[in-house]
Symmetry: C2
Subunit: 252 residues, 2 copies
């Protein structure tokens, strides 16, 4: 039986990166696409709790069924698994291909990775794919063979329990694949202040990425800066085991 593959993203149903991902996955299995009806960048693992969520089938062709969802990327995964895979989970979840990087600390804010983490929580082997180019017409052609190869590997080998993959890809012909750790860093200088016609200020989120360890060669930022595809195995257990003993010694 052909593998079943659930696909979502955070740039929305009309994004080029989603269409490219669908084309790359077609040879690998039967596809169910559940994507947000509009862009949901920066939604992290947000869920819709105070309003209901809609799910509509919009097309069905050989091997590809498409749905649009009114919710977040995580809602897409939750609804997809609950409504469309009620008896047997899909064999693979792939998200993206995101227009823009989700390396280093951006994994925390990314809707692409939020959706992959949600698949992982539900014990579905899951991969988030992102390209280091945020333009709507970004060229994905150079990385598509690697997208297929990484997905084939996950279908063949599976992933350890509680682990998904954060895959970031350079905007050039890749030199190869590096399995990396998440770079330590953060976004800085994050806001631009404007004033509205009534004299009230408002703030646009923007910012620059600050890398704490630009010379470390085992990080995802290093891999991308050197034109490699960066794969960070990403875990859902966030416990800081190393920190437990020190805190146990505190007097409460």
């Amino acid at each position: 039986m052909r593998p079943s593959i659930l696909i979502t993203n955070d740039d929305g149903l009309m994004a080029k990166g989603l269409q490219e991902l669908i084309e790359a996955m077609k040879p690998l299995g039967d596809l169910v696409v559940v994507a947000p009806d509009s862009p949901r960048s920066g939604m992290s693992s947000a869920i819709t709790v105070n309003i209901p969520t809609r799910l509509h089938k919009i097309s069905e062709e050989k091997g590809v069924v498409r749905y649009r969802c009114s919710g977040t990327p995580v809602d897409c995964v939750k609804l997809g698994l609950h409504i469309l895979f009620p008896n047997k989970a899909p064999d693979l979840l792939v998200t993206g291909i995101n227009h823009g990087t989700n390396s280093s600390i951006s994994v925390v804010y990314s809707g692409t990775m939020g959706a992959a983490i949600e698949g992982c929580i539900n014990e579905v082997p899951s991969i988030g794919f992102s390209l280091c180019n945020h333009q709507p017409d970004a060229d994905f052609s150079k990385v598509l063979p690697s997208v297929s190869s990484i997905a084939r590997n996950v279908l063949e080998h599976g992933l350890p329990e509680g682990v998904c993959l954060n895959v970031n890809m350079p905007d050039v012909e890749p030199q190869g694949v590096k399995v990396c750790r998440q770079t330590s860093g953060r976004w800085t200088e994050e806001f631009v202040r404007h004033v509205d016609p009534h004299g009230h200020p408002y703030f646009w989120l923007t910012g620059n990425f600050s890398n704490d360890e630009p010379h470390a060669m085992d990080t995802d930022e290093w891999a991308l800066a050197n034109n490699y595809i960066a794969i960070v195995p990403t875990k859902i257990d966030m416990t800081a085991y190393d920190a437990m003993d020190a805190i146990k010694s505190w007097q409460f």
Copy 2:
């Protein structure tokens, strides 16, 4: 000099849990409160990228300045740090007290913890507090001494780099404090289906928590079930180091 403490939450500026947290922190330092102008539960680490964000001062009394923010809990932290602490970061960030638990996998979806993680990313010692009672009039009085005690410990000892605290508290007189790991589990049976007057279905998120390891005694769920306060040291490096070697052996 008195410590400076930044406070936010995800239940919004009017939540009782926020007022209780402010009262508990008053003896410890000078407080700056930046809270969402309405409830933002389940917002995880979501950020507002496609619309601007507003920040308004709403009151100033001795030792407590309050602002409302139109964004997510993470926006509150980002704006608070950028606009209100431009030169020197606060000594502590506390979030909550959330009306409802954020134990186990709920750390992923929680806006309370999204805000604490954002503080941690920005190298501010950060704690998210949650009570196992989601009612608007929940009684926080039994846990407030522990909230103060945990905050005092963090002010005194600091926290390791890249680590914040996820503190969940039982809805009874606590038996004490346990430093725990994140329980393995997930939410299941997550949607109720309704039909609107036009015959179209819609879905409400709901669900039950499923604990993979109900007998493990070192988890946050066990601590809470046995009336202890659960502190999970929570890290922002999500790399699954144990999984790297196996994936490096794949043929890409």
